[in-house]
């Protein structure tokens, strides 16, 4: 068992999500920074889809009551075990009585904690991921609370390993987010598209797992901002009447009636989700062939991410 001493501002149980229910209005959920989540699971010897925690801005304080291994990845939150600094991106073997704490993120927004065996919460519609707005999955559809107890599936102690340097992304620099124009790019003026691709956009604090709200150069519409409602993809960049983009994420609404200027490649969703409020980013347009090439490259880069710890 894991005893939650302090939950952190928004810590949720996530696995790789529940695809297949968008036609009923239920989003896939799952970790926003999928690559970091997967590395955490591999470091503790889990399958990629085992349930772990997504911590937002600041992590929880957890008392360990069962021998287990954990790994912390994603946002750079200082990790301590019994008050002593401990490394992230590394297998940490813990014993009953240990207290783990994740502090405030120095870089990035979302950190992941994987536990050997994975968190044992009920599977809802085939997934343990939490969908907060829909009160579905995870721990009763909600974020962690003080005094919660989390159960782990039994698992052997994994070997101690660490993530290779290539798997750890520098979250301190403003990223370039790559997107394919469309499906409604024709509903924007040339200047509007140039604004999206030329300007810097700042992440706003209202951003959440549903969407990243951005502020920057106004994106002008050519013929109004409303369309007949259609489906919204992961990474769709919606532009309402105020000309400010909203990138839709894993807990997005399934359909909507605002024009969508571009779609961010799924390989850059995790990086977008690690941009802190106030931090800036830029967009770059790529074509579909390049997007698919980058996706293949991104997936291949995840095959060999661990090395023996020295």
């Amino acid at each position: 068992m894991i005893h939650v001493l302090e939950p952190g501002p928004q810590t949720t149980v996530q696995d790789l999500g529940r695809p297949g229910h968008l036609r009923y209005g239920i989003p896939p959920s799952g970790p926003i920074d999928r690559a970091a989540f997967v590395v955490a699971n591999r470091l503790v010897g889990n399958a990629d889809g085992a349930a772990g925690l997504e911590c937002t801005v600041m992590g929880p304080r957890l008392a360990i009551e069962t021998p287990c291994a954990i790994a912390v990845t994603g946002a750079e939150m200082p990790v301590t075990v019994n008050g002593a600094e401990a490394p992230a991106w590394t297998t940490l073997v813990l014993k009953p009585g240990d207290v783990v704490k994740l502090g405030v993120a120095r870089a990035g927004v979302r950190a992941y904690v994987a536990f050997s065996g994975g968190l044992d919460v009920p599977s809802v519609l085939g997934s343990r991921a939490t969908y907060l707005r829909g009160r579905l999955g995870g721990l009763g559809g909600r974020a962690l609370r003080k005094e919660d107890r989390l159960t782990l599936f039994p698992a052997p102690t994994p070997p101690i390993r660490r993530a290779s340097a290539a798997a750890i992304v520098d979250l301190t620099v403003p990223p370039e987010i790559r997107a394919v124009l469309g499906p409604q790019a024709d509903r924007f003026t040339d200047d509007g598209i140039a604004a999206l691709l030329g300007g810097e956009y700042e992440m706003l604090p209202q951003s959440d797992r549903m969407g990243a709200r951005l502020r920057g150069p106004r994106i002008a519409h050519a013929r109004g901002h409303d369309i007949i409602s259609d489906g919204i993809a992961l990474g769709s960049i919606q532009v309402p009447g105020d000309g400010q983009p909203i990138a839709l994420l894993v807990d997005r609404q399934s359909t909507g009636g605002y024009t969508k200027i571009a779609t961010i490649g799924s390989f850059d969703i995790g990086r977008l989700g690690q941009v802190k409020p106030g931090q800036r980013l830029r967009f770059r347009a790529i074509d579909l062939a390049e997007a698919h090439r980058l996706l293949r490259h991104w997936q291949a880069s995840q095959t060999d991410v661990l090395e023996e710890a020295t």
Partner: protein, 216 residues
């Protein structure tokens, strides 16, 4: 309506043929969003396969629709918040507006926006109204609203711009149920007008999980 039928027919064919690489689909009024894995099927090959199915979608006969009966309380202004003002705007007695609304059969074009929220057509022309000028910030789940040619039912508490004529005690989205979503694209919906007493009785049965919706 013809376009939406073709959208749902295309989705049906995509499911039937289990097109390789397709992950999931989202039907809307006049388009079908197809999620696919580009590492399994290329964009051009998928478009070709879908174009072929779209041509067949004209002629395919969809499985017979389910008919779902939704009890709805119109008479209590606490539930049918906008029944009286909407009726006044239409120049009808409130009871007549409720009767006309409940007398029609609605078709679920698609489910979207929030979990389980149906976008429905079938509104009688004489009760069509433009949406509210100022949307409400909070509409309770189960609220049955009209606006333009649409009728919708709020599935979770959310902001909304429809005129609320009544409320159903059924849950269109119930995260704790084995099947959280009540309605599906293509369903036919009939409203049955109930009084406040029956509303409360059904609401209690729904909460106790002893109520079975009437689905034909």
């Amino acid at each position: 309506m013809a376009v939406n039928t073709r959208v749902r027919a295309l989705e049906f064919l995509v499911q039937q043929k289990a097109v390789p690489g397709v992950i999931e689909t989202v039907p809307t009024f006049r388009s079908l969003l197809v999620y696919y894995d580009p590492l399994v099927v290329g964009y051009d090959a998928l478009c070709e396969a879908l174009a072929e199915l779209a041509a067949q979608a004209e002629h395919v006969s969809l499985p017979p629709p389910r008919v779902v009966e939704l009890p709805c309380c119109y008479e209590d202004p606490e539930l049918g918040i906008d029944l009286a003002p909407a009726a006044e705007r239409l120049g009808l007695p409130p009871a007549e507006l409720a009767r006309v609304h409940a007398g029609a059969e609605y078709l679920v074009y698609f489910i979207g926006f929030t979990p389980g929220l149906p976008y429905m057509s079938g509104m009688p022309e004489r009760i069509m109204l433009p949406r509210l000028e100022t949307p409400r910030t909070k509409v309770p789940p189960g609220s049955v609203g009209i606006g333009g040619i649409q009728c919708c039912i709020y599935s979770v508490e959310s902001p909304g711009g429809y005129w609320i004529l009544g409320r159903t005690p059924l849950r269109l989205y119930d995260p704790d149920a084995a099947e959280p979503i009540l309605l599906r694209p293509g369903d036919h919906v009939r409203f049955r007008a109930i009084d406040r007493r029956e509303y409360d009785t059904i609401a209690s049965a729904v909460a106790a999980r002893t109520f079975t919706p009437v689905i034909g």
